[in-house]
């Protein structure tokens, strides 16, 4: 029997019980949230369990929700089972004052750069990452630019005198 969203949800609920919450299916992709302490356990189970086999990490990134107090940063994993051709989305929320999340680099080599990118832009501190340094931004940068508290420059500002660009 081919794998489908209900079956994945059933298997995961059997294993993790109430730990996994917020089951949704936006645009057909099964999405759920787990506690950040057990993100590796969930990923490992998804990887190892023969009936699931989510062995391909498609994408890893973070989202900043400043209004979500205590759970400001979400780390989102997109996983793909290439055999049954089904994708899932797994989210982990973390506090912005202590954004420690376990690194998935031991499971997926591909997570290396992706976690560095996420750290670079959101400041998620991936514990256990072999080389967690900035990747796209300059090394001297001391803030995390993709967080929502850094808006882009206001286009209507008039205090800037720039002859070259006519502002």
């Amino acid at each position: 029997m081919p794998l489908n969203n209900e079956k994945i949800q059933q298997i995961l609920t059997e294993k993790f019980g109430d730990q996994l919450t917020d089951w949704q299916e936006p645009y057909g992709m099964l999405t759920f949230t787990g506690p950040k302490e057990s993100n590796l356990k969930v990923l490992q189970f998804l990887f190892d369990e023969p009936s699931l086999g989510f062995r391909f990490l498609t994408d890893l990134q973070a989202v900043h929700y400043p209004d979500n107090k205590g759970q400001e940063l979400a780390v989102v994993y997109h996983l793909h089972n290439l055999v049954d051709n089904i994708r899932i989305r797994f989210k982990v929320f973390t506090d912005i004052t202590q954004p420690d999340v376990f690194s998935a680099t031991a499971l997926y080599q591909s997570a290396n750069f992706m976690e560095r990118e996420t750290y670079d832009f959101f400041g998620v501190n991936f514990t256990g990452h072999p080389n967690l340094i900035r990747i796209l931004n300059v090394d001297e940068m001391d803030y995390f630019p993709m967080r929502k508290e850094f808006p882009l420059e206001d286009q209507t500002r008039s205090d800037k005198d720039d002859e070259m660009f006519g502002r």
């Binding site: 936006p26 645009y27 992709m29 999405t31 062995r55 391909f56 990490l57 498609t58 994408d59 990134q61 989202v63 900043h64 989102v76 997109h78 290439l82 051709n85 994708r87 989305r89 997926y108 080599q109 591909s110 290396n112 750069f113 992706m114 990118e117 832009f121 900035r134 990747i135 796209l136 931004n137 300059v138 630019p145 993709m146 850094f150 808006p151 882009l152």
Partner: protein, 406 residues
């Protein structure tokens, strides 16, 4: 008989040479820095640095209405920008729930496959250049020019195309576009055959590429390879087949698969994909020709709220003017939701993860750039090889600096 000259102890502390390959090295075809530890000509260790052309696309996208994000996507993989544009349009259409007419789908396939050919053509001929055979590059380059002329006919620009709109194309394909397409279909196969004859069984080329930069299927999957590089390692994963978009399910094509994942297999897989793309263009073009009368004038979906109307309608029709104004001023709210959509780009799965909170701009947009993800395998691929093999491995991975950095 020469004996080993023993140096006094401590006179040379470092036994290896450190070499900076890049960031602006003529052999790297882009801004990549690799710090190589060399023992003679053999690479003991490689460290790659990225981020030289980071342009904050994801941040920029958070303040732009959907249609203004299309020009950003051009600059990801600039060797096949139409695929990026289409991938973005397809993502938006998925979020907005827009169904496209079949003719638009087929026209998109024509453009996407043309750009796949132009992407692979550059990659393969550069592999040739890096192995010392310049002529293949010169033979094929004229066809990229022809492909660019077709883009020009459709959208008015060549490299950073900004082609199409959410819901279709900006205008119907002109007759000249089809004439140029026919010319391409008639002349390209012969030249590609000649290119293959020059390289595929060329002993020098084979010696330079076989077994160089090889990766096993398992490692490739673990490293997140997609596209031709993954298929060269023997995994038949292709987004066009696994999650068909833009009516790819209506076409018949095969997925070429390699075995060893080395430079030679990557070269062969890309060559075969060009043949498959040619056949896809022919099939799609045949289907486009089947539309007659009013159906042959369809080039966009009927979604006035999101499709930027044609300029002549804006000047003559009330509704078109209103929607034009609303879209240009970015006053159209997009539905809340989160969507991941991917297309088979020139280098692999190009994904767009779009979160909308119901505002006018995306709340968060993330580009899954295949180059960025598989570039981390580069140190492993070149370790233990020769310096000149590192150069050829780099070009056969088809690393595009724009896609690497976003």
């Amino acid at each position: 008989m020469s004996e080993h000259i023993l140096l006094p102890e401590g006179s040379i502390e470092k036994q290896t040479t450190t070499l900076n390959l890049g960031p602006t090295h003529p052999a790297t075809h882009g801004v990549f820095q690799n710090i190589l530890e060399l023992d003679g000509e053999r690479i003991m260790k490689a460290t790659s640095t990225v981020g030289y052309i980071h342009r904050a696309f994801e941040k920029l996208a958070e303040r732009r209405p959907l249609y203004q994000i299309t020009p950003i996507t051009d600059r990801l993989n600039y060797c096949s920008s139409p695929i990026n544009n289409m991938g973005w349009h397809i993502t938006c259409e998925k979020l907005l729930g827009i169904e496209l007419p079949k003719r638009v789908d087929y026209l998109r396939i024509i453009i996407m496959e043309l750009s796949r050919i132009s992407d692979h053509l550059i990659c393969n001929s550069i592999v040739g250049v890096d192995s010392g055979a310049y002529s293949g590059f010169l033979y094929l380059m004229q066809f990229r020019e022809l492909i660019y002329e077709i883009y020009e006919e459709v959208c008015g620009s060549r490299l950073t195309t900004n082609i199409g709109r959410i819901g279709g194309f900006e205008r119907n394909f002109t007759n000249t576009a089809f004439v140029k397409l026919e010319q391409f279909l008639a002349t390209y196969p012969k030249q590609l055959k000649e290119f293959e004859t020059l390289f595929s069984r060329n002993r020098i080329f084979m010696e330079r590429t076989i077994g160089v930069g090889a990766i096993s299927a398992e490692r490739a999957l673990n490293y997140g390879f997609t596209g031709p590089n993954l298929r060269a390692a023997g995994v038949d994963y292709d987004v066009r087949v696994h999650t068909p978009y833009s009516s790819y399910q209506d076409l018949e094509f095969t997925i070429p698969v390699g075995k060893t994942g080395d430079c030679y297999d990557r070269f062969l897989v890309r060559n075969q994909e060009m043949w498959q793309s040619l056949s896809m263009i022919e099939q799609a073009y045949k289907k486009v020709q089947e539309f007659k009368g009013a159906d042959a004038e369809v080039f966009h979906a009927d979604t006035p709220a999101y499709y930027l109307p044609e300029k002549k309608d804006v000047y003559t029709k009330m509704e078109a003017l209103i929607y034009h104004f609303k879209i240009i001023m970015g006053e159209t709210d997009i539905p809340a939701g989160e969507v991941y959509s991917s297309v088979e780009g020139g280098n692999g799965e190009l994904g767009f993860y779009l979160i909308s909170d119901g505002g006018r701009t995306p709340y968060r947009l993330h580009f899954r750039r295949p180059c960025f993800i598989y570039y981390q395998a580069f140190p492993e691929l070149v370790q233990g090889g020769m310096l000149s093999d590192a150069v050829i491995t780099m070009s056969s991975l088809n690393l595009i600096a724009g896609e690497l950095d976003a």
